[in-house]
Symmetry: C2
Subunit: 501 residues, 2 copies
């Protein structure tokens, strides 16, 4: 057969063809006109291509493994909820909720905005008083998409929450610990975890002379300080919220403060602040929290940062947010260069379940959320930079033939290999070219290719080709499964060794 | 300590407490009134509780493993698409599409109805000519929910599609093979896979005197024969579609036929039918398909069934549907008892991409979809019947103490165990009762409990308890990780042996 005569030329040709072809998946992402109709995605949404799915699944697997390491189980809830549940939970952001059209029925539905309010509904409806659960799912916000920064209108949240009444700061410390563990395992470069307390912010607002009714909306304003410079935030406080300039400046005096656990003692000496019961409660909480975080070995990552406010209304205690230090807010950079920033966050929300529970049952909760879209963006960038072609499909054995009319023999071999648990493929053409078959193996990093022809059929053998080394050997048909298993182990060992070098 | 004195009593009490408590998760699923607001789920949707998630993940893992065994990669697309893409793709079912409210913008969006039309959009937009991909995701149909039958408005589809122009019936045979493999691996009792061909149905319609424009809508009518008796379908054909009674009866003469590959030859002798080019094409396809299915070892599951029509408009060639024979349509049963029935299906849709592609690019496709919600329902039922309590959380080691003021020691131990990769939990209370801690371990089937107290702290040891056997031993602190690893292996071996007995 042709193949036996010129193996070297074939190898060269395969290499040449491989280099000349690009992945058709990446070629064209532009929107295309179909007559007058445009074929495009909804604004702020994306497809995940196979190479991106590979990254996504690796990131999810790391995160899930860590959540499970801390004893969480998992639940799922529908992507839509009754609008009545979602209303009045998100403060100024409620305008970003996607509503569904009402059709024939009286149910008004909306897409979920986060996984926290659905969890509160789940806790109340199922009368749960204690639970540790994680939930990975898509949420929807009709926001201005900044897709280069990993901000979409449809995006994943990975949440871990501890539900139940326990002793102070024990679950809180574990949530911060989990964020640190996940970011360490994902190897995302330098990060820090900012920590603050909603009660401390409220005490500061009181001391500075802010009226009670502005507390929550002012938290949203303070929260912008990681994206917007102080003078603009100050203007918003004065012109939109109606604060006196001196009130704004007193707030600025506090929220600039940041440091380690020593800052707690410094604040204890502020007699005006400590005249507030809420401030004492917050400082006691934080002192305990920092103590526990030391036992959990994460002190070096922690910053007590009074600027941290978190946007959402429902937080009531400790709040935290992880930031990649490389991508922190810098007024010198333009908007696109800010790129990522906050990558995980969360806090205590002790009153959310009570607010919607029919019997006002009090079920304190704390939770964290990992911003995986931003992590995907970083990982995709890292992979592109590294120029490593990672293996996408799982196929380990390819069944090929160099001769005509071997389709049915290839089918029989595939059946045998599938039944023996091998991840196996063959060409869908009756008489494919050997070159095309070998090229497919190399392009997709399939470990072994087995080749059958009339001489092999006559001898009761199979030719086996190691795709990477291009070495070939002959195997008796009756030893096929066993020998393939052994060879796969060897090939994988060699691949692992190569990577380590 | 209390614990050292009376271990047996403690064991008895733990057992008693465990038996008296039910899982709070399953207790109450009723909707609850909150003042005038009702706390409930959208119609036709469900939450997945942790025990149901366990089943779901096992089913997905079996299916994904099989899809990967056949060389597929995976993609993801947004849950919403432009309405213009979804219109005119689903025939009479288009009224079931969920639309989103338009807000401020000109984009009209709807929730996806299946994963096939989004795939066609993906293929066209990315100019793909060949691909083998699976996609697991939720789809949305505003249907009358029959939740006892596993029919929801939000439900999962697990799709596998082969995209590209290949030789006849090679991908088609693999799709049928994959359905058989998955149903075998899921061990769902007896099933059969009905096979038919859209071109054969069209030829039959022509021969019986049906006008061309009724072909697609008549396929939907025929498709109801697995749920509705013939006399009702006949009335619909005559009164709604306007067929002559003799036309309807001639169709009935054909669609009653079913059998094995021999039926192909029988139909070849029907000279009226074989005067139709489409019939010849269909019979040639089916002959080849049955031949390939024999090579794939699935002949015993296959029925050539002329009643199979599939509801959706876009099929153009071979169609197939797997049915659990135990749950097949039986006119004697009332609606709820039909329970499950069709559990997987699919077919060839060669013109869908061409219809929406701006350059009318012809990209033939074939795909299959697994009806996992029905599979979940069966698996949940099987598990309830078996009364086996399966382990839900992954925790393998629990850190406990019998004494007061050991919270910080427990925290340090947890940190050590987390850093060594153990799935570890501890109580969140400062001074939990030992009984509560041991009860938590038994209820959640945690393999090992390690107990620390002042004597252990003094001696530099840890007490380790095998939760299942309640055997205890003392381990030196410096051998902790190593000994725990060894004990976990032993405990798991014993559990596996117990299961096999």
């Amino acid at each position: 057969a042709f193949y036996h005569v010129r193996p070297r030329q074939i190898n060269d040709t395969v290499t040449k063809l491989l280099n000349s072809k690009n992945d058709p998946l990446i070629k064209n992402k532009d929107n295309i006109r179909n007559n007058d109709k445009i074929l495009k995605l909804p604004r702020g949404t994306r497809d995940y291509h196979p190479n991106q799915m590979k990254i996504r699944e690796e990131v999810f697997s790391t995160i899930i493994n860590c959540f499970q390491q801390h004893g969480a189980n998992t639940i799922d809830t529908p992507i839509m909820e009754l609008i009545t549940l979602l209303k009045e939970k998100y403060g100024e952001d409620a305008k970003l909720i996607y509503e569904l059209k009402e059709q024939d029925e009286d149910e008004s539905l909306a897409l979920r905005y986060d996984l926290t309010v659905p969890l509160a509904r789940y806790i109340s409806q199922n009368k749960i008083s204690a639970m540790k659960r994680y939930h990975i799912g898509k949420v929807y916000r009709r926001d201005s998409p900044k897709m280069t920064r990993g901000r979409y209108r449809e995006f994943y949240q990975c949440d871990f929450d501890i539900v139940g009444a326990y002793d102070a700061m024990v679950p809180d410390a574990e949530c911060v610990k989990i964020i640190a563990e996940i970011l360490d395992k994902l190897a995302l470069e330098q990060y820090k975890i900012n920590i603050n307390h909603r009660k401390l912010l409220d005490a500061i607002f009181t001391v500075c002379g802010v009226p009670d009714k502005l507390f929550r909306s002012l938290s949203s304003t303070i929260d912008k300080l990681d994206k917007i410079p102080w003078d603009i935030v100050r203007n918003e406080m004065i012109n939109e919220k109606g604060l006196l300039p001196e009130t704004a400046d007193r707030i600025w005096g506090y929220v600039q403060m940041h440091g380690n656990a020593d800052l707690i003692n410094q604040l204890r000496n502020d007699s005006q602040l400590t005249s507030q019961k809420l401030a004492i409660e917050a400082l006691n909480d934080l002192e305990l929290l920092f103590r526990y975080l030391a036992l959990f070995n994460v002190t070096d990552k922690i910053v007590f940062n009074l600027k941290l406010a978190r946007g959402l209304d429902y937080y009531t205690g400790v709040i935290f947010e992880a930031v990649l230090t490389q991508y922190q807010y810098n007024p010198q950079l333009d908007d696109d260069q800010i790129a990522v920033g906050s990558i995980a966050g969360g806090g205590r929300y002790d009153e959310l379940v009570q607010k919607l529970d029919p019997k006002q049952r009090y079920v304190p909760c704390i939770g964290l959320s990992i911003g995986v879209e931003r992590i995907f963006a970083i990982k995709e960038h890292q992979l592109t930079e590294s120029k490593i072609q990672s293996k996408i499909i799982s196929t380990e054995i390819y069944v090929a033939s160099a001769e005509k009319n071997f389709l049915e023999e290839r089918m029989k071999l595939c059946t045998y290999l599938w039944e023996n648990g091998f991840k196996t493929e063959m060409a869908y053409k009756r008489n494919p070219k050997l070159l095309d078959q070998l090229q497919y193996c190399e392009k997709n990093q399939i470990e072994l290719c087995i080749i059958i022809g009339s001489s092999e059929l006559h001898d009761g053998t199979i030719k086996m080709r190691n795709v990477m080394t291009r070495e070939e050997s002959i195997i008796p048909r009756e030893q096929l499964a066993e020998q393939l298993r052994n060879h796969l182990i060897k090939v994988r060992q060699r691949l692992t060794e190569n990577k380590q070098q």
